[in-house]
């Protein structure tokens, strides 16, 4: 894995905006045009294999959580336990997720799993692919995200009754979320679905009928939500969701995996696994350095780096009252002052591609820069 400086493409901003990637310069630099990462084919094969292995372990961990009744331990509200449990029993289909890895060429470790609402999708799927074709057309990229999403939506479409609309929802006034959801809707349209957008604030509920509706009164039977389960189950309409009959993506059982509580459970099930980091619900298990992560923190908020030697770090945010986990500190590899993390996508149970995020600090946040990659075959 090497970090390489290259020439910026002329009109790169226009190229990104043409595909709907409008937030490329959020907070100064988000898409880092003049930089890329080079991997070897062996490194990519390794990441691909470990991504598949982590998916397998995570599914076993959900089964373990259900069997041992650990739902509250990972942050599922007690009154929604049956709802989550039923979803798992039904084997409700999952569309996608993104594992975040530490990788330095010698070690590959799971940092966390964004199982419910992973973003940076259009940049991983389309933007960096177009970059590759412009800049390194003779090299390859670990990226079949677009095809795998299309195939997944085709498959979902086959299981739906004809003419049933499939809704895509996210919060209003958040450009990045909207672009991610519009990208997914685009893919679903190509896969033949009647894909419609609806802001989550506009979803209507009839308590008498016990169903959810769009702005025209059409019933919502299928819903992709870029809105975390722990928020949805805390909102006013929460109690109507289980009986509504909606098919939701990601499915309710994914709340178990989107909790950082899955990390100590994985470590308990697979101690000393070479791709896992020691993680516990209790900080006293560490004598030296550790990272404290709230169960449902997002985009690097409320992370505390406790270094035995050196300065500790803490990020701001509004998470943490739900409880935290403690993970062995594995500081990201630093390339000329840039700390890089690998985001590895899993779609319908298959490893689908990666994106690299880098930051000036060892904590990857919502402002961390996205950097394209290639590998030599």
């Amino acid at each position: 894995m090497k970090r390489i400086s290259i020439d910026r493409r002329p009109n790169w901003q226009e190229k990104l905006e043409d595909i709907g990637f409008t937030f490329h310069s959020l907070d100064g630099v988000y898409w880092n045009e003049g930089i890329c990462y080079e991997f070897t084919a062996e490194e990519i094969d390794w990441i691909e294999a470990v991504t598949g292995e982590m998916d397998r372990l995570c599914l076993e961990a959900v089964a373990y959580v259900m069997e041992k009744d650990l739902l509250e331990k990972v942050g599922v509200p007690w009154r929604h336990k049956d709802f989550i449990r039923e979803s798992w029993k039904r084997s409700d289909r999952s569309l996608y997720g993104r594992f975040d890895f530490f990788f330095d060429g010698d070690e590959l470790k799971l940092l966390e799993y964004n199982a419910d609402t992973p973003t940076s999708l259009i940049e991983s799927s389309v933007a960096q692919w177009m970059w590759l074709e412009d800049v390194f057309p003779r090299h390859d990229q670990f990226n079949s995200i677009h095809e795998k999403l299309t195939a997944a939506f085709r498959d979902i479409g086959r299981s739906m009754p004809g003419k049933t609309p499939f809704y895509f929802t996210c919060v209003q006034d958040h450009e990045e979320d909207f672009v991610n959801v519009e990208y997914l809707r685009d893919v679903a349209l190509q896969a033949g679905l009647d894909a419609r957008h609806l802001f989550i604030e506009d979803i209507g509920c009839s308590r008498e009928v016990g169903r959810f509706y769009d702005l025209e009164g059409g019933e919502i039977r299928y819903l992709f939500k870029l809105y975390p389960w722990e928020w949805m189950l805390n909102d006013e309409f929460a109690d109507s969701v289980p009986e509504s009959g909606m098919t939701l993506f990601e499915p309710p059982w994914k709340m178990v995996l989107s909790s950082k509580g899955i990390l100590p459970i994985l470590w308990e099930m697979y101690p000393d696994h070479e791709n896992l980091l020691p993680s516990y619900f209790d900080a006293s298990r560490f004598r030296g350095s550790y990272v404290r992560k709230p169960l449902f923190s997002r985009e690097g908020a409320n992370i505390f780096y406790r270094r035995r030697f050196g300065r500790s770090l803490q990020t701001e945010g509004t998470y943490g009252t739900e409880g935290s986990i403690f993970q062995e500190l594995k500081e990201l590899p630093c390339f000329e002052g840039n700390y890089a993390a690998i985001g590895s996508w899993i779609i319908s149970g298959e490893a689908a591609g990666i994106g690299v995020r880098e930051d000036d600090t060892p904590i990857t946040r919502n402002t961390s820069r996205f950097v394209p990659h290639y590998f030599k075959t």
């Binding site: 992973p118 008498e208 019933e219 870029l226 509504s244």
Partner: protein
Amino acid sequence: MKRSKEVALVLIASASLAACGPDTQETRREVYSSRDKCVEDWGSDKCEEQAGGGYWGPHYYFYGGRTYFFPRGRDNAVPAGKDVRFSGVPQGTRSPRSLGTITSTHVVRGGFGRTGSYHGSGS
């Protein structure tokens, strides 16, 4: 296979797709004074007793001149066949056995989105 073959986009490049009109399927339920009347319309396993009294039939909607209903909560809608007496009730009229119809016009909005009002939802 690691390499993409194509990454074509249709939505962002073609705003005209958004102009397609929606096929709304307003969902309804019939309210009955007794279980017998409900069973007469829908069959024995499709009626639900309400805490406030009375019985409700299954969720249904009209589409393409036919009645579709949801046999159980999570199942997909199926066309109401001849064995379902309610299928003979024309759209715009009411079953003589029903007390009334609840429709999705009793809809409130804004019950999602408040928890995340200060955040984006991505991770």
